[in-house]
Symmetry: C2
Subunit: 420 residues, 2 copies
């Protein structure tokens, strides 16, 4: 046996689904996370644009795992791993494992331009989302009080970098905000004056989706007033000015708000993990694993979710984490029964992106559709996967309400970056 | 006339109700606030204890006043008033007024012990509530990882200072948290071990309420595991230790979490206001006004809400702000018609405090009751007064849900004090 103590680092989709799937396996589970909650990241853009509150998409890990008496949740930072002794070290204790599951995910990255971070926040954590929310709504507020028309124009200009699902969803939500939600709320300008640019290096938005969906998504975005700039690269972000390059053409845009939705990189701690087991990382810091998601030479150490770089790289979506988490649990159970499992295989359950009220594009089992139908599918999938979120019905009601009214109530501007 | 430009400083109950009540009066309104939202302070303790998210009780001022085209909302700090020229200065502009309404409220105060602020946060702003929430839930998390039983005991000890409505509601919510919500979520201790002390200098809890309600409230609190210490004063708060004095008796309690619900003081800017008009302030910094809520010698300058100190001091509750706001609007309208109004008179609509699920005490029009009936009255009043909160039904559903399940979903612990 020797599989009875499973330590999981990270309570995102990968780690949490592993812990949940191990519920019926006779093992002791320790789930370690820096935060006390699981974050439903696919809806983070809703927090960034004032549609939902952080509490709506963050659920306490302890509450989710409460019923499994053999599961313990530890809130803390992992500061190191002693592979020789098979222990994970936090600031408070050493936790011994028979099986270790690493699932600490990725942060956004700036392609070597770390200096852009302060000027163009990304969207991976609650704090990121609150920072975006603060900047977006502050820009509108400042536009109301400035007497400088040029500054006002810059304050009403928003640039979203990267047109993957997050970028598309952010730009769509900004379009709705400017054209619907904020209508009639300002006296010195009309929110419809706001300009939203969505910048993408590839030749089309949603470049990983099937071609027809990209053009549908682009048309939807344009209807919401979003200017889509494809085959365009950001070459500089300085205070208030974004420089774009399209072929030989250079363009500068005065924009006070730049939102980053491009590029990922493994978190700091991943280096530590790789070194502890002598594993390799890929160019964005993900840890290279075998087909069964274990580190080479360490069959009891799994790397799953966004942090994992198996021979065939699955997409960086929630589904990948969920499927990998379930696979690890199955593997542990199989091993306890003296069996083994075939390699992990990602099953594509489809792609979805939401562009606005009743507007989405979907590609599910080869079936492509858009508009209200796609939006409804999106809504149903999100209901289903808001796992352990006891309030999922409430969140849905809130959505339905926002859907009908375009209202966005959760648009507090905090004193510093903190406002909840 | 000369009443056509009304400038209101502060978007709390006083300022907002004045602005709303002026909706049918032909005046231009400028409402200035440091924040972009109106905060429903009576429910702040629910945010502090994880029952509601900030977005549930904060509503954008612009959204509330959107339909009044003659009302403008300005987010900004007032940095001074030039009484001679009748202008209010913000960092961005000078705003001229014919009538000025000052309603910037109060902060909590430490009776000359400002050094306690960092050790015992108060509860007046969203940030205050998030800081309390962070401390409360972090204490439980740290209790799970520490190996020191003495420290664990201190981490599971909570002291609430002040047994007015806020203190009583906080202590009640903590009691529910420990005995109901968190049940079964920890592995190294039972949350029921948590000790909650409610400390009050007066001889009974809710000292401004009728005597029978105090004893009912105390019994309810005790049933939730709260230790009520009346006629007891806090003489010192140092890191991890609270010193209490009851008569001659001195007691020290090791407690990692101390929550402050006693004492108020006008905000910094009130000194500025008083000086600008040569007005006097009372010992907590409130501005002394005449019976019609105007500053002596300045019939066009009103001070309302918690900042106001009229000859007969009304209680520091939301009702006072609402009634004063409505009174100011009526006065302006009367003056425009060449009439005048009798002095402001506070109408007591009753007192209420909530102690837990289905438990409250109420004193309404001399009718005293408690238990579920009082709780229902409390719930109805809060529905009614969640003014302009388009989501009030949602908040009620959320409550009802929390009521039935004891769940508290909004208990994120942020990275610093910021977590939303």
């Amino acid at each position: 046996m020797g599989q009875h103590r499973v330590v999981i680092v990270g309570g995102g989709f990968g780690g949490l689904y592993a812990a949940k799937a191990l519920g019926r396996v006779p093992v002791d589970i320790t789930l370690i996370d820096r935060r006390n909650f699981h974050l439903f990241q696919p809806l983070l853009y809703q927090v960034a644009t004032g549609g939902l509150s952080p509490g709506d998409i963050a659920n306490p890990l302890r509450a989710i795992l409460r019923k499994n008496r053999r599961a313990r949740v530890v809130m803390g930072d992992v500061i190191g791993i002693d592979a020789a002794r098979s222990v994970v070290k936090t600031r408070d204790e050493e936790i011994a494992y028979d099986v270790l599951v690493l699932a600490t995910g990725v942060r956004h990255a700036y392609f070597g331009h770390d200096e852009w971070e302060g000027r163009a926040p990304g969207l991976k954590t609650i704090e990121d989302a609150l920072e975006m929310r603060r900047r977006i709504f502050r820009a509108f507020e400042r536009a109301e009080v400035t007497s400088d028309p040029e500054l006002r124009r810059a304050l009403l200009t928003f640039v979203v970098v990267g047109a993957g699902p997050t970028g598309v969803e952010l730009a769509g939500a900004l379009g709705e905000l400017a054209h619907k939600t904020l209508r009639g709320e300002f006296r010195r300008f009309d929110p419809e004056e706001a300009r939203i640019f969505l910048v993408e290096g590839a030749g089309r938005v949603l470049p990983t989706y099937a071609e027809p969906l990209s053009s549908k998504a682009q048309r939807r975005l344009e209807r919401l007033g979003v200017t889509v700039e494809t085959s365009t690269f950001v070459t500089d972000i300085s205070d208030g000015v974004v420089t774009l390059k399209r072929g030989e053409e250079i363009e500068t845009i005065r924009a006070e708000t730049v939102l980053w939705a491009a590029g990922v990189r493994a978190t700091e701690v991943s280096r530590e993990f790789a070194d502890a087991f002598g594993a390799e990382t890929d160019k964005v810091g993900r840890i290279k694993v075998l087909e069964d998601l274990t580190m080479p030479g360490h069959p009891n150490v799994f790397v799953i979710g966004d942090l994992s770089a198996p021979p065939t790289q699955p997409p960086g979506v929630a589904q990948t984490g969920m499927q990998m988490g379930a696979y690890v649990a199955k593997t542990i159970r199989a091993r306890m029964a003296g069996k083994s499992l075939p390699p992990f295989r990602y099953r594509d359950k489809g792609s979805l992106a939401v562009i606005g009220r009743g507007a989405a594009v979907a590609d599910i089992w080869g079936l492509r559709f858009n508009g209200v139908a796609a939006w409804l599918v999106w809504a149903c999938i999100h209901i289903t996967y808001l796992i352990g979120f006891d309030n999922r019905i409430l969140v849905m009601i809130q959505w339905a309400y926002g859907y009908l009214t375009y209202k966005r109530g959760a648009r507090l501007i905090g004193e510093c970056t903190d406002d909840g």
